[in-house]
Symmetry: C2
Subunit: 330 residues, 2 copies
């Protein structure tokens, strides 16, 4: 039985569209083992689950334990999560994952420990609320700026999930009849600020002759997609196209996040996600400035702060979930 | 002591930018007296309070009681309401009402009964939540489409006020760099859908030569402003300019209200306000249709229903408030 001090270890998995981040944490929520691996881009849910299993096993080895010794493993997942049944349906950005897949039972069998499933954005918000930048506040909005733009809401200390689909701040309309969004709609905040939409726009403008180092940087790093690191590197080199598209994203985030604050009048905005964490507090400040012209309560604008748990927030938050799927033998 | 059955009577005042609506209700929330009068457009808070006093006295006379016999009088007010102190500050659309004014103590002295103050939009939402179109739901958004566009939020059966300034849905941005809003910002939902903004736009287009009967109708009715009734009459006559501006308002309401639902994923949307109540369910249906292209959870769109308490909702809701200002002698 693995312990640190008097308390047992837990596992957490953040299942993202680009990478799978796993952690093992102790009773004080200190990370004692971690592993990260790219998310498969081909195959189906079973292939993704197999990679998740490998990544958590690596984190457990780093912590010096077997997965069966963990009190439980939590998973933050995109798509429609049914925590009680342990299933995930329509997981966006994951290969071949439209139908319902029994992820919880599969992982329970592989790990030999109980499994908890939750929504990826909400578990990351809960982690910041309990352990990170939100711990001194009771109401907050988590803004996860990455492949898309996700939102997590905590009101009076409790997650607000609505009918299960709350927090879709990426699809707040910031421009009627505006740019096409990867979701198929038009004018959503994500159509301007999501990394997928930004990459699509960059390719279009580059094809039309606008100079940029974005795709050279990707090629040098052996990447097919424009990662957050590539955007950050292009900004450092003062790449004009990257600067223009990031400024457009910041403007859209300012309007959309201000709109949410006009509705909810919350205490703090926590900026996470791949781009949010990578670009850091100077960009959180730019978003705060872009919000100001649209804020109704502009005499007391909410602070915009970067997620303190950084890239690990989603996995740590997943480890805080209460398991609903019992352990089973493989 | 005035009673109906075993229960005593309460007063309610809805202090609006255009009219002051008063009611006296019994213990079953049945209206047993009411009076309505235009809001003064000149003077200051004292003049407005004097008109409120006269209007509630008329409602009390209609109910056959003196105001001192009412258990209390509730007031739904615009501006910053301090319920405990009984003060109202910066009441928008009311004459000379920027500084704090002790409305509660003044009314308590005039009526000889305790006074309760609340936010106008929130009391109207609470009335619908408890007694009206929202009574079968636990989470809802009240959309008050009138001079401006106000919002009231109920989550899990409780009003959500945030830091006191929540529900400003009229200032959700629907078009970056869009039309000027009476609030001084650009692209707000209210810049397209608020009656003040619509009237301004109608005057501009009429001055540029667009034909409309809107101003003739106002003149015939002896009105300086385009009331909800005038807009409704112009629509009935198929006035092209009125039709165009109302369609633009519905489009903006569709995008803005859908954005709020994408954030909160609520159960029902209740359409109130002067225009909302006047135009009725056929326009609620048009707003629902305009929301659909922007709704993230479009497989289960929330119903959009007209406020059941109609024009009296604000005053009835005010009568439901719990008094914080004790009765006093004039």
């Amino acid at each position: 039985m693995a312990e640190r001090g008097a308390e047992r270890l837990r596992g957490g998995i953040d299942l993202g569209g680009t990478k799978i981040q796993t952690v093992v944490v102790d009773g004080r929520n200190t990370v004692v083992g971690e592993a990260r691996t790219p998310t498969p881009t081909k195959g189906g849910p079973g292939d993704v689950a197999a990679v998740m299993v490998g990544a958590l096993r690596t984190a457990a080895e780093a912590a010096g334990v077997a997965t069966a010794d963990l009190t439980h493993v939590g998973v933050g997942s995109p798509g429609q999560v049914n925590a009680a049944a342990g299933t995930v349906t329509s997981a966006r950005n994951l290969p071949g994952w439209e139908a319902s897949y029994a992820l919880g039972p599969e992982l329970a069998a592989q790990f030999g420990t109980p499994i908890a499933l939750g929504n990826d954005v909400q578990v990351a918000t809960d982690a910041e609320a309990q352990l990170g930048a939100g711990r001194d506040y009771s109401s907050m909005l988590g803004v996860f700026w990455g492949t898309g733009v996700g939102g997590g809401i905590v009101l009076d200390g409790r997650p607000w999930l609505g009918g299960g689909g709350a927090g879709e701040i990426g699809h707040v309309v910031v421009k009627l009849d505006g740019a096409p969004c990867p979701c198929g709609r038009r004018g959503c905040m994500e159509a301007y600020a999501g990394r997928n939409a930004m990459e699509r726009r960059a390719r279009e403008l580059h094809a039309k002759g606008e100079a940029t180092e974005l795709f050279k940087l990707a090629h040098k790093r052996g990447r097919e997609r424009l990662t957050s690191g590539i955007w950050a590197a292009a900004l450092e080199r003062e790449d004009a196209l990257a600067g223009k598209l990031i400024a457009r994203a910041v403007e859209a985030l300012g309007a959309g996040v201000a709109s949410v604050d006009n509705v909810l009048d919350i205490e703090v905005i926590i900026l996470g996600g791949g781009l949010g964490v990578r670009l850091g507090q100077s960009y959180a400040d730019k978003i705060a400035a872009a919000m100001l012209p649209h804020l109704f309560n502009d005499h007391r604008p909410p602070p915009v702060v970067v997620a303190e748990l950084g890239d690990l927030g989603g996995a740590i938050g997943a480890s805080l979930l209460t398991p609903a799927v019992a352990a089973s033998a493989a």
